[in-house]
Symmetry: C2
Subunit: 216 residues, 2 copies
DNA sequence: TAGATTGTTAATCGATTAACAATC
DNA sequence: TAGATTGTTAATCGATTAACAATC
């Protein structure tokens, strides 16, 4: 019925983790209340923008006092659905895949990788970070059986589309894609790209621009 | 003198790697010419947007024929400064740092990590992916001596600000930050954040939204 | 109470999309 | 030539920023 809920703008969505990281630290320091202005200063943002962003959580602040830190923190976690973690499968046990699998803090970010897959005979059967690597052949079937919703793709570019299709065949809903390729998927599938090259391009371009300017 | 060059919009900058990945593949397939429409279809973009994006490279297409693939590809690489690679230092040899150091393809993306640092006695002196891990004590000095411009931060959140400062003291210009914390730096320092949590938040939020909708 | 800070409504800014003349 | 595709100029859209009344 309440279908008029406006979905959170993506730029806001990308800032929410920043707020969460900051608030977590302040909470550990024993702070109880915080104003949008303080947050803005810490994160180099505009305080109006901070209030707009925080408004998506539904938390209301108190004039003169600011926001209740604990309440705001919980609400931010809830907005990203980080207050409970979703099971996920990862495919591609190269260096990046292994690193992601070894990352201890993903459950804090709502993600729980419970199985890893690869098609390299040498890797299948081995254990990484306490998780046994399974054959990619079993991927579609296991997604189906275990009702997995999230798939993480860390295979090389030329295998990524095939893996995506296997995931979709199994009924996956959301794909976190690290392979440097655009995945073609049906419109109802959520794909979030996380290629390192994306932010690296911004870095190298800006650096070159800066150096060009300095040499002028 | 030509100080009126408009800098490339950040959304465009983030799409350029996509074009590069696609064009690389097409080039290997032997394609010589390509239209903005074809690119748009492959990447799920609007063809007008593709033309606007490509315009930043300065390459002009031919009506009816489209763009020369080779020329466009080189120009895109050049725009991101990926046609030559910049030396960089990496600090923090945890699982993510090791994975990044082991990544073979960074030189294709304009990045050449030539040394790694850590403050863990156990790791110092060890070799990862052919690179010896050095003590963080030497970081500032070596950046100074070798005129390093890019620093990669993969240390835990509570150490990141300190490492950033050491880099800046050494004269670093650009920081690629994987630590889940906002770095406070002087305005002339370029910081590009690459926290995995950023895109993960988008994923978990959208998935939760989708599931909520399906259950309705 | 006075003043700081909130949340909302309006203005600005920049990116995306549309319209269209130029041209290979 | 006719038609497809380019590049540019204008319109739209959405996010950021500004202004300000409400209130603890």
């Amino acid at each position: 019925m309440e279908n008029l809920i406006k979905s959170v703008p993506e730029p806001t969505l990308k800032r929410l983790p920043q707020y969460i990281h900051l608030l977590k630290k302040l909470k550990e320091d024993g702070i109880r209340q915080i104003s949008s202005n303080t947050i803005a200063n810490e994160l180099n943002l505009d305080s109006i923008q901070v209030r707009k962003d925080l408004a998506v959580t539904g938390v209301v602040g108190k004039p003169k006092l600011g926001f209740d830190l604990e309440e705001l923190y919980s609400a931010l976690l809830h907005t990203l659905n980080w207050d409970n973690s979703t099971d996920a499968f990862l495919v591609g046990m190269g260096s990046l895949g292994s690193a992601i699998l070894g990352y201890k803090t993903f459950p804090e970010y709502g993600l729980n990788i419970i199985a890893a897959f690869d098609n390299d005979e040498e890797k299948i059967g081995q254990s990484f970070a306490g998780t046994e690597v399974l054959s990619s052949d079993k991927l579609t079937d296991m997604i189906k059986r275990m009702h997995i919703n999230i798939g993480v793709i860390t295979v090389p570019a030329n295998e990524a589309q095939k893996v995506a299709q296997q995931m979709i065949d199994g009924g996956i809903i959301a794909i976190w894609n690290y392979a440097p390729v655009h995945l073609k998927v049906p419109p109802e599938i959520i794909v979030v790209n996380a290629q390192l090259s994306q932010s690296l391009g911004v870095l190298t371009h800006k650096l070159a621009e800066r150096l060009r300017y300095l040499n002028l």
